[in-house]
Symmetry: C2
Subunit: 294 residues, 2 copies
Amino acid sequence: MKIAIIGVGLIGGSIGLAIKSEVGSRDRRKSPLEKSKVKIIGIGRNLKRLKLAKKIGAVDEITTDIKRGVKDADIVFVCLPVGLIAETVKNILPYCKKDTIITDVGSVKQPIVSEVEKFFTQSLNLSISQSPAFIGGHPIAGSEKTSVKYASKELFENAVVVLTPTNKTDKKSLDIVKKLWKKMQAKVKIMSPVRHDKILAMTSHLPHAIAFALVNLADNFEFVGNGFKDTTRIASSDPEMWADIIFNNRTNVRQAIKRIKFELEKIEKAKTKEELAKIFRKAKEKRDYYVHKR
Amino acid sequence: MKIAIIGVGLIGGSIGLAIKSEVGSRDRRKSPLEKSKVKIIGIGRNLKRLKLAKKIGAVDEITTDIKRGVKDADIVFVCLPVGLIAETVKNILPYCKKDTIITDVGSVKQPIVSEVEKFFTQSLNLSISQSPAFIGGHPIAGSEKTSVKYASKELFENAVVVLTPTNKTDKKSLDIVKKLWKKMQAKVKIMSPVRHDKILAMTSHLPHAIAFALVNLADNFEFVGNGFKDTTRIASSDPEMWADIIFNNRTNVRQAIKRIKFELEKIEKAKTKEELAKIFRKAKEKRDYYVHKR
């Protein structure tokens, strides 16, 4: 089995490491990797980064030639910034086998999935069974660090990976991608691209917008405590990557910003200490229950 | 020297541990603790908590009788919720020595300092030199955990402690409190109570308000990543304590909320990916420079 990873950064590199650590592991029987030796090829534009990925063992081979990289691949992981994913899928299609499964790790799903599907049906003019399959995916894992040097085979352990099939998605391919993520110790959740983007706007994209806004507003940094540091950690994330994500999910993020402004107004307008305490108690109980315990 | 700590939680307990670890340390000469043996008395209402404080070595003696506790104390640290500090200072005054120095650790300074000073001049009808001194203080340290069991002698190492004298403050007493905090390895900054409250509204109180608001807004907690977890860590803080802080600094916090809403609107209204990237780049550069490096 040949697996191609386009974009070997934190996520792409960790996929390589996680798959390789599972090859030959104890319960191989359950694995989609069982039938043959797995070869992982890392594809990118930056040779130095690719060499580092190979050195740390995230990939077996490397190439800057995307066409050659995806040739004969059974599965292609597109681990690029959100804004480049659909275009890249289009570009590699002519060079993939008919039964290649292409999947991605983008933090936004609806624009990518719909653009790819439009292209599959319109431009290729092929029935689903004759063309490579595309499975939208998003591992909810990562950090503000983006380089392959932070890649880890444990990055997806107990992380949720959302797969976003539509009625056009090939079920068998979905199942293979699902099993592959499970082998990487992830918990797979299935939902529509639209629902994914609504949820993630609130649980991920809004917190990033807030962290960036809070840092831009602040000064007197010698008086920040650990609270400020933690609250704004993700403001040290890659700004281009996050502009890409938030722009591609702008309708949902704008809605989320409207809602957080409304929540903040409740605090702004609270007239008594008890009114504030009620708001804060609700939050603490919710967080301690849902987040602390996980 | 007798030091009384009223309220032996995370902060009060850590003060006890930090002072005791400094007693007899190498450069005793520079210490205000040099002249005599230091005895620390922990004062509180909850005997179980006080016993725990003694057991971990944060205090030498304990009492639930506040009058007896502050008797003969050279320095009194009031480590209570913001809303109880001024009242407690008033209550203990008749039982303190004339040269006792009273200081506090409240996260809000202006309402406390002005109430205490009003009482000192009006009710006592004493000149400054005849009455105990009050020094407003605020160690910018702590966490969402509040119990004495998390107390640590290192809590104030390299932490900023703000002291907020006014034109009525006794300079000699200020100097003693300053030296004491320095012995606890803190970096002492001096500013007015008003300036302290304006700055902390932005660097501490607003991030807490945001974290509480974000958790109240969120659902679908199985899809939160580390970003959300870190951004909302402080929403697991003590809600009563934070209602107290934010209520006592409400004018500044309301102003800060207005300003963060405006910052968020910039993201909401951004029309292009590049506009977003510009906002996010500014934040990342600022945070990497001011926060990462510290």
